[in-house]
Amino acid sequence: MIRFIVRRLLQSVPLLLVISLLIFALIHAAPGGPLSTYLENPNVRPEDIERLRRAMGLDRPLGVQYLSWLRAFVQGDWGFSYADGRPVLDRLVERIPATLELIGVACVMALLAALPVGIIAAINRRFDRVSSVFAVAGISLPVFWFGLLLQLVFAGALGWLPSSGRTSFDGGDVADRAAHLVLPATVLAAALSAAWSRYLRRAMRDTVARPFMRAARARGLSQRTLLLHHALPNALPTFVTVVLLDISMMASGAVVTESIFAWPGIGSLFTEALGKRDYAVLMAFLMCGSIAVMVLNLVADLAVHALDPRTRDAA
């Protein structure tokens, strides 16, 4: 087990190196740079641009810039934001709680919906049909469209909920925060719960079709018992894998949601940083995202290992 973890961690080092090189090249290939925003102002003269370019170290060759970034990054120094001059780490750290809160709540909502729906759908054919309609619909809506629609209805027309933001500035109590969470979390949870319930249902059905289940059926166990006591535990490990992988990818799904709902998380930080070509923040965001996915991948593998009845019995 330990050896497995160590091996995976070692493997991820060269991968992260490749990823960092790839995204560094990519973001620097994009036209414009951190100084582009200055160009709009006619009072900023070319001399000023040159002066700022030197001050920011952007006049150095790209290779040198990459190496100095890499050297600092592995030492835990993530540099300073080109936009506001503050440490990149500070900028990320202050945004992460908001994103975790949003993703966490969305996942809980999605799981609360997906687990019962998936299980009942596996057992009951009628329910299966109805739920599948909603499930397929849930993953077929463009996220920004769905988000704007919710805003228009629940914040605009009905006025029940705040349309965006994380807290009212003078509120901030639990009720206020919950009210702000409802719409963005719903948007994120909609697609997830749809995908997850479908997945769980299918995994359970697949398990029922396996030979050992046929043997169990031959012993006279009811379909219901089979599903709940045998299919579900068997389907869970892969289900958990899917859930963990999806969660790890939500950082990017949240980019749209955070933008629409002005959610102060790392997704909206990314959008802002991309617009300003804030290289330091972009690198840190993408590296963090990649590392988070890799870690969750590993956790998923470990979880499968721990949950799988076969490996558990063997242990």
Binding site: G85, L152, S268
Partner: protein
Amino acid sequence: MKRFLLVSALVLASCGRERARPAASTDLLTIGYDREPDTMNRYATHILEDIESCVVEGLVTNDEAMNIVPVLALEVPTTANGGVDLRPDGGMDVTWKLRPGITWHDGVPHTSADVKFTVDAINKGDWKPESVDGFDRISSVDTPDSLTAVVHYREVYAPYRLQFVRGTLPKHLLDGKSIDAATEYNRKPLGTGPYRVVEWKTGEHILLEGVPNYWRGAEYPKIKRLLFKFLPNTTTRINQLKSGEVQMVALVPWDKVRELRGLPAVRLNTVVGNGYEHVTLNQKHFTPFADVVVRRAMAHAIDRDLIVRSLLDNLVKVVDGPIQPLSSAYEKDVTRYEYNPARARALLDSAGWVVAGDGIRSRAGTRLAFTLITQSGFAIRENVSQALQKQFKDVGIEANVRLIDGTSISSIWFKGDFDAMLHWWQQGADPEITLFFAADRMPPAGRNINYFRDDTLTAMLYASDRTADEATRITLLKQVQKRLALFVPELPLYNTSKVDAVPATLRGFTGNPTNAGPFWNVYQWQLTAAK
């Protein structure tokens, strides 16, 4: 079935728009702001200084009619009032008299030492001020007494009046410190203005609170708190205004104004802007633009009135040149190119551009076809560029529209790597346009991205810059405008008027045509109880 849900939701949404919202407090104004500032340091920021200007005041500011009015200065120095002295060596001395009795928010008096410190700090060059324009022409500052600062320029510098529009840096706080690293100052600057920063919640908002003893009088500012919510997504911003979650949005995009008409809680305030939307014709990149006949034909080909009437809902006015009607240097009587496609065709025929089989003209193997770039995500520009495309096509000119994101496009025009571009320049209150039209101001030395070369014009422009006499300067600039209209190096379209959506209950709001922004007189604003 989701479609029905959708339709019914939309119906519901449109019904609900009329619903009344609870009356907001008169002590708090919530503003939906389109971006988060990078820093609150006015000299380091490269975006509008709306929030900053509530805290840090300049020696002068621009009022709603674009006049330069004193704030921390007692008066604006001129040759007439003895504030400006032309030295025999070609240099210039400007004497700023500071208003007495003004203290920074920490109680320390605001003095001429702060003016001197500001100049020295910017010229020292060890940090990242956005622009050092003008400052680099200052040789030194003398402070004969605590309220007098004499600024010595190496040469005559006509825009001197706006030198300190961004205020001063507090010497007692920043002396000996690295200003880039002065995070505390850059996040919560020390100012003399009506408000101070109490909270900056990254990604969410900045909260300003009125200071207790504002120098204009204890009754100011009348609104106790200003809350700037960062809402970069335009739809979200407009939706919050509709739902009453924010009360004010500055600079509403013209195509969104229609959405806000008829909202009882919102008043739309329009001022003529100090910028102009135009099509830049890069003669270096697409040589047919170098022919004045082609340019005149293009000017006749476009129906600016129709575009303004339809796509811009009459929110802007057609203009014929770079200096805008509000400016004292504005010249009204210039060559005007009315919409006349027949005349455009005749001009092109006369210049030897013959219509080919595909309906597009060509001459000696060169097609009259170019790429028109403009900023993506800017609905009005996307639409106007397509209307222009059609109007050019009607006279046999092909314009291929290409949309480019805002960050990329500035680096493209800065390199001169485009044929034609639909965009605007937003200018300061000073009418200097040398940077945009002088022959030696082509990139990288300036913003002459038409690559227009006219020596007479260039001489006139520089002469206008190097006089401290206002009347002479205006005469020269009026001649400049006539010459520009005659040779039409670019196609002016319309003035970029500024529309601000403010609460119907707000008193004292005027708007502002310049980059001083609508918050220039925020201390006077007052929210009255809803009727």
